[in-house]
């Protein structure tokens, strides 16, 4: 392993897979937030949430562009961002299960955002020290945006958790329902273990405690209970990052990919 950002071919395959993981969670969550545009609870919030979606979409594109470059080292050619986004099937998507969950109510959407944002910030923060310089550079740009996302979603969790009786109940239910998807974020498989050992990927198992502390602190401020850890979906070697998804991703991709797939020879 060198520190110059150029890896051995065997590592390149792992890096490609890892970059898709980072990209796909951003793209899928941005797609979900795109469903909200024009339907938010108040204009100011519509605008604010769309900014988060645009940030994630931008980050996803940076990861995909780099993934295409890495792919070119290990395959006859590397795919561009649109081929990767629009022409991969669900089983080839590498996003976390959490982000593909449907929007539901505003409480569900904010709970999903909040749980992801805190993980996302810790992961990106670790990646700013990646030995892969490109990864470190993208993470350094993204981490500033995500710091704002964390502040925004945490603020909302507190407002809704400690708002009215009804909002408290909805918020608690939303957190409880999504909790089973949080374990996956901290379960490293062989790919991530190898890349973390090489100093390229974030060691996600190390992020678990800081995440619990941060999330727990906000939930306490919000007068919400930290759910008990039960069985965690996708945290046992077969989950979103291995291409094993919930039913929801297929529908999301069917909508998102419909046009490029129906006119494969077209450019847009």
């Amino acid at each position: 392993m060198t520190t110059t950002g150029r890896c051995a071919p065997a590592t390149d395959a792992l890096v490609f897979d890892y970059l898709l993981r980072l990209a796909d969670s951003d793209i899928v969550l941005a797609q979900r937030l795109g469903e909200w545009v024009g339907k938010g609870p108040v204009l100011e919030e519509d605008i604010a949430q769309t900014n988060v979606g645009l940030d994630l979409l931008g980050q996803g594109r940076l990861w995909l562009a780099y993934a295409g470059e890495v792919e070119a080292r290990i395959a006859p050619r590397g795919r561009d961002e649109n081929e990767l986004a629009f022409l991969r099937d669900g089983s080839e998507y590498r996003n976390l299960l959490l982000v593909e969950q449907p929007n539901g109510s505003y409480a569900d959407t904010l709970a999903r955002q909040f749980l992801y944002d805190h993980w996302h910030l810790l992961a990106l923060d670790a990646l700013t020290c990646s030995r892969d310089e490109r990864i470190a550079a993208i993470a350094a740009k993204a981490v500033k945006e995500v710091r704002y996302h964390v502040e925004r979603s945490s603020g909302w969790i507190v407002r809704l958790g400690d708002g009215t009786e009804q909002s408290h109940e909805r918020m608690q239910r939303a957190i409880d329902a999504l909790w089973m998807y949080t374990g996956e974020m901290f379960a490293a498989d062989a790919t991530e273990e190898a890349l973390a050992a090489a100093g390229i990927a974030a060691g996600v198992t190390l992020l678990r405690e800081p995440w619990r502390k941060a999330v727990g602190g906000v939930l306490a401020d919000a007068t919400l209970a930290l759910p008990a850890d039960g069985w965690m979906q996708g945290a046992h070697g077969r989950g979103g990052r291995q291409g094993a998804h919930s039913e929801h991703l297929g529908h999301l991709l069917a909508v998102m990919q419909s046009l490029p797939r129906s006119m494969p020879d077209a450019r847009w």
Partner: protein, 96 residues
């Protein structure tokens, strides 16, 4: 009939770059000051318009009345000696 859940109105002031004063750019609704600042960031600085934000509850702003316009502002109209151009200077005198 109003539902009674309308967020209060805030006035937003943005400083566009170092050295310039905050300038009123518009208003928005927010439940509290912290969210007013965040909303102002998202609503009024999407195109790099600002480096600093002030917000104030619209209800807390006090304004001069249009009825007093003449009394307040007309008296300044004839104080021409306050302006440097009132004092012609010879061309050969520099740095004045």
């Amino acid at each position: 009939m109003s539902t009674g859940t309308e967020w209060p109105l805030w006035e937003v002031f943005i400083r566009s770059q170092h050295g310039l004063a905050h300038k009123h750019v518009g208003s928005l609704h927010a439940p509290d000051a912290a969210m007013a600042i965040r909303n102002a960031r998202d609503v009024y600085t999407r195109r790099n318009e600002g480096v600093s934000i002030w917000v104030a509850r619209s209800a807390d702003l006090h304004a001069s009345s249009p009825d007093e316009r003449d009394a307040l502002f007309d008296p300044a109209g004839d104080k021409v000696y306050r302006h440097p151009t009132f004092f012609p200077m010879p061309d050969e005198v520099k740095h004045l």
